[in-house]
Subunit: 427 residues, 4 copies
Amino acid sequence: MKQLLTEEKVFKDPVHNYIHVQDTMIWRLINTREFQRLRRIRQLGTSYLTFHGAEHSRFSHSLGVYEITRRIISQFERSGYKDWMPEESLLTLCAALLHDLGHGPFSHSIEEAFEMNHEDWTCRIIQENTEITAILREVGEDFPQKVASVIAKTYEHEIVVNLVSGPLDADRMDYLLRDAYYTGVNYGTIDIDRILRMLRPYNGRVVVKESGMHAIEDYLMSRYQMYWQVYFHPVTRSSEIILRQIFRRAKELFQEGYSFRFMINPLSDLFGGEINVEQYLLLDEALVQTAFMQWTLEDDEILTNLCSRFIHRKLYKYVEMDHLDSETIDEIRRSFAGAGLHPDYDLEIDYPTDLPYDVFRPGEGFDSKQILLLDRHDKLREISEVSDIVRSISGIHRGRYHLYFPQDKLQKALTRLPVSIGGIFAK
Amino acid sequence: MKQLLTEEKVFKDPVHNYIHVQDTMIWRLINTREFQRLRRIRQLGTSYLTFHGAEHSRFSHSLGVYEITRRIISQFERSGYKDWMPEESLLTLCAALLHDLGHGPFSHSIEEAFEMNHEDWTCRIIQENTEITAILREVGEDFPQKVASVIAKTYEHEIVVNLVSGPLDADRMDYLLRDAYYTGVNYGTIDIDRILRMLRPYNGRVVVKESGMHAIEDYLMSRYQMYWQVYFHPVTRSSEIILRQIFRRAKELFQEGYSFRFMINPLSDLFGGEINVEQYLLLDEALVQTAFMQWTLEDDEILTNLCSRFIHRKLYKYVEMDHLDSETIDEIRRSFAGAGLHPDYDLEIDYPTDLPYDVFRPGEGFDSKQILLLDRHDKLREISEVSDIVRSISGIHRGRYHLYFPQDKLQKALTRLPVSIGGIFAK
Amino acid sequence: MKQLLTEEKVFKDPVHNYIHVQDTMIWRLINTREFQRLRRIRQLGTSYLTFHGAEHSRFSHSLGVYEITRRIISQFERSGYKDWMPEESLLTLCAALLHDLGHGPFSHSIEEAFEMNHEDWTCRIIQENTEITAILREVGEDFPQKVASVIAKTYEHEIVVNLVSGPLDADRMDYLLRDAYYTGVNYGTIDIDRILRMLRPYNGRVVVKESGMHAIEDYLMSRYQMYWQVYFHPVTRSSEIILRQIFRRAKELFQEGYSFRFMINPLSDLFGGEINVEQYLLLDEALVQTAFMQWTLEDDEILTNLCSRFIHRKLYKYVEMDHLDSETIDEIRRSFAGAGLHPDYDLEIDYPTDLPYDVFRPGEGFDSKQILLLDRHDKLREISEVSDIVRSISGIHRGRYHLYFPQDKLQKALTRLPVSIGGIFAK
Amino acid sequence: MKQLLTEEKVFKDPVHNYIHVQDTMIWRLINTREFQRLRRIRQLGTSYLTFHGAEHSRFSHSLGVYEITRRIISQFERSGYKDWMPEESLLTLCAALLHDLGHGPFSHSIEEAFEMNHEDWTCRIIQENTEITAILREVGEDFPQKVASVIAKTYEHEIVVNLVSGPLDADRMDYLLRDAYYTGVNYGTIDIDRILRMLRPYNGRVVVKESGMHAIEDYLMSRYQMYWQVYFHPVTRSSEIILRQIFRRAKELFQEGYSFRFMINPLSDLFGGEINVEQYLLLDEALVQTAFMQWTLEDDEILTNLCSRFIHRKLYKYVEMDHLDSETIDEIRRSFAGAGLHPDYDLEIDYPTDLPYDVFRPGEGFDSKQILLLDRHDKLREISEVSDIVRSISGIHRGRYHLYFPQDKLQKALTRLPVSIGGIFAK
């Protein structure tokens, strides 16, 4: 089934040094228009507004996920582990490579605004008559469906699903390393070689040899640090908030029949309702940014202001609060309205939280998100049973309320706000 | 004149670790819309199609140039060198930060297509009533003009000009390091700390302490390697060729009165003739890419085909030839026309060359592109007089002809080509 | 008081890139025979037997500690913090550079064997008529004593003591970075630039700006990981055990009047009792290793065997046990004796523990080992009050019993041991 | 023949990340006392006196050479190149691992002083009844002799010899990378992955695929830079000169019947004449350093002075001269004698030269030191025919005369020297 290239191809990659492609099919999948489209979707959305180096694309990341998966499988096969099925290798590699195929521009924000889900789009692009579908079909009529089922976590062989999306999957390992590299933040530098050496296929799961425990602790801590240093960075959140407000405002205007000076397909169809796969593939971040740039010249003040903020990076400021109840929130919104501020667009409340690792509850059996250690007697234990570090970070949520607002506008309205409310936002 | 921030600000940067901003003015210049626009212009144009990591922007690079300049000046001032004028520090930093401000989308190709020059645009943006002009004017009415004159190399104090654009300027040092980092190619790893330690201001020039000769040799070799490994990479050249063909074709069509399904400003005005600063600032790579994407749906087959090739990365293939005279070129074009191929769009001839270092001709005096070593007796010598390595690479051009063409189309026309011509392109 | 070199001197250092020396006095101290001796003392003792790259010396580390201290002070002075006294700069730098001066060969083991303390020796070398004493005296008769008092933590200005030995001192930062670099373990890669940027002198202490909390969490986690991955590595412990046994055995033999085939001064005087500073300075790891090598040819079987083990790296094996009470230990020793094994030399019990960070007890006031965060209202809080991560690792001891023994010898005696005891050591 | 370990063993290595050991025999060879002895021989001799980080041992380097060889072979076997003989794999790995086994303490200096050759010792240790001999014999009676013949370059299959010592052997690649890492100098950072990917076995030689030319240029330039920056560093040469003088003086004294306060075996036998393998294995740098330290207390002033200089790093200073003829040298020596300086011990003349790459002379056929490129038509060309860079550095010798002398002593004698001679040494 696997057909080897006459000579291995490589991509130069700053994170893994080289991405090695040995199968003809992988090579051809990479060269499809659907996969090339991932070059036009950033891996970290708006994070480049916080970390100027973070311009890397989902294309890079997808190659990285493929490469790590290739290394894991190759180690499984070299060691001849009986719980691995070598005949699943091509399927696993295809699923690893394609798992992010359905991401849209500024993925999280656009999904929220239009109630879509990138995983659904991934499965549709794989199966609905694209260049990718055609190539996959050469293996067998049902191969596209098989690849999609791995991504949808319904494929019959659990080990394949676990490799592509599990607590120690190649996806997470690549993004930690890659996001650390491109932001320049050095918290994500996990010892991937050591982690890979410690992985074992075991009863349909990827587990960790016990002596690899410290490497896993380090990996979970890196994940924790990257969440707080990068993924939840307040400046990034601020730009995401503006992004969501733009989508929200443009949709409102569209539905109210506002006549846009600039509109572009498939954006208009998206506002109107459904779009199909072909249209979806036209969506990329260049298109979204171009629309925003053009909208800085629209007539609607709210839209124009938001687009200018996004394009010229005049983001909302924020204040942090340890506690905030819904009554206070209502009070703030009411005061805002009273002071001539917009109760929705001029205030966003954000409460970022992360659970670095899911708590293990004895007696419930292992769940699919847990990391299991395999001791020398072939006994499995969930890692937080053994590691104090993991146990201690398992319960940490550590969220604080962040209130985002337009500093200049609020400054001017400050005298019209009750002192108790104004005090929250006064510097 | 310099006004310090109450607390130094930093940008996290993967190349320099941190970019340190100490002056209020620098901080405010970075936050202008004109400078933020550089986030939407890639540093390496189409190189990301060869090296998937090379998505970094001119924004990052400009910060890097500023940072290196800041470190050089700070070392000059710490050491109290008499040939440096501390009162020029703010001017130098502003010019270093802003020197790339006028770059357009896919700079080299667009400049060629529309006969523009990014340096002119830089000077215009600095001086023509932008946010940047307003900030610079706070120093003095003529400060914007002064900054522009440094960039235009006409400023009265040579040492300032030499720092911003000379053979050892911060621009080159940053791009070598940065492009190496983002492509993942490790030829650009120069020992910048050592180079900086060795620089001396001397009679209006930045020269090198003699004991730094090996560091400079290494720097010039890195430059040479980066040119051949990255900047002249045939795949990148192929994508630039297609880019230029797209601009050429669209302009032709525009001038012929072709009615575009999709057109966007300021692209139409650009095709029509002149654009002003305000319009120029709307141009970015998102806009160009969006136009190309939409043009994949146009009626003109040539334009549609070229845009598809660019967007979906189906680039031209190439063959290399050691020698190629103009007669042979004419013959190839004639044969192409005869075989139903387009004599211009289906064939591009490229001859990349680089002169890693300019030859020094004794008796002519030092020119501004030469690197001078300062020995312990305060005597200057041009580096190739002292370094065998530099002397030996000074004369190297090392170009070969590259013929670029659409592989699929040519394949089909192969039987209609004379054997002698077909043989050149047959694999 | 400070006398600057006409030109800054540098040492090329893999960890800090360059060590910058600006003061004549620092330069001269480095060139003394007492400081050069640190080249012959390894930073990590016997760890090179586990991590073959870890051959770096206390000389390197001492330069690194000096360099970090220099950077901290230089940042304090650039920012003009009022709680720092610039006139203490030279004293601080001297103390930082010299703080490890008294380390002996395989420091921890030799100190234990001969009941010595390296800090005492450091203070003596600084004050007892060495080349170092002479140089320091040029500042003032009492300057050597002042430097020693900083190291002994009795100097009047707390901030100086805190910089040289506190929970965030340059010593710890350098050794984490350096030991990680030379072992190749990448857990020690802390973001030192960020940490240094966050330090503030405050009321006689070095505290951390609140926004640096995550960097400190990362630093404490690195410390934790380095302890378990490197410093407590069982193979290193095994070699330290053999080292201590060699010293113990040689001393026993010496005191019993055994006539050594090979003996060398000042080792003999050390066995005999006291040695003076001049003699102590002759002690280095070359001398100790040479003695051990020669002792592989002695007549005493125990000594010969131990020395062979150390020199040829045939170390003791170990088994781990979660629990071990003193009765069981006695029983094992008795059984060993009964089976012809040596109850002391053939069994060593080790219980490595680490407290990554000292618990803070509310109501007790801040102690000198705690890390304090300074918030924007100039309020201090101990870090574990704010950081869940730090709080959760504060209480972790995580020790397990390790039993070390000569595998080959024990294997042969296995049948003579009770089954319950033999089972512990059987593979 | 190859017997695999039940589980691959690894060594953590800063340069290659992990050293992978898969064969039982390699594992056992590493654990012999002869191989462990390499831990006590520094890779770079006295370079640690110039670059304080360069304390790494021949043990580390030997593992590195083994690892690179393993990777090359593994790539040859994965690609199924017909010019490689898989049955030679174990032999090649053993020879790669053991090739430096015979190095003595401060190898180059001791070999010169005692007219020995480390390659001879390597072959003797492999064949003369050591632990290593015994292990190798398990493959076959003649296996030790085979391994030795590879190292001596007389083995029948050229490709094996070429892998272990050729112009692109693992030895050179490892030392460039390793010495760069430990000194901190970043000129040695070659792209080893790319080089390895480009190697091909071809007619008994390791050649390079043509597209790897730039990687080889970079490798040769790195070699050139490392020679001038590290290997020929004047401070290192100064310490080597003193080292040789110590050996010379001690030998003179020994032969004159001087009674040493401290003497140690096998040093005395070495001075006396021959030593055997068993004695040779007792020689290490700890022993030599210990002897030097003890000799700082001898009665002979010359020896004492030299040993103090070496141990306390009070090295000779030097002046550089472009030209120096034998008459001038004689004159200097005569003047020295006349001024009460020692004509030999107080003056050493050094002329370091390097030929970064051997010139290829057309018509002479390829010699064993040349690097050959293999083009797509399977035609071989010597690299300097194709690469301007390589051609231009091929002829470079670039030596200058360095005169080393004791600065303090010469300073005092300056007035007694003729002005013309004194002027050379006056600062």
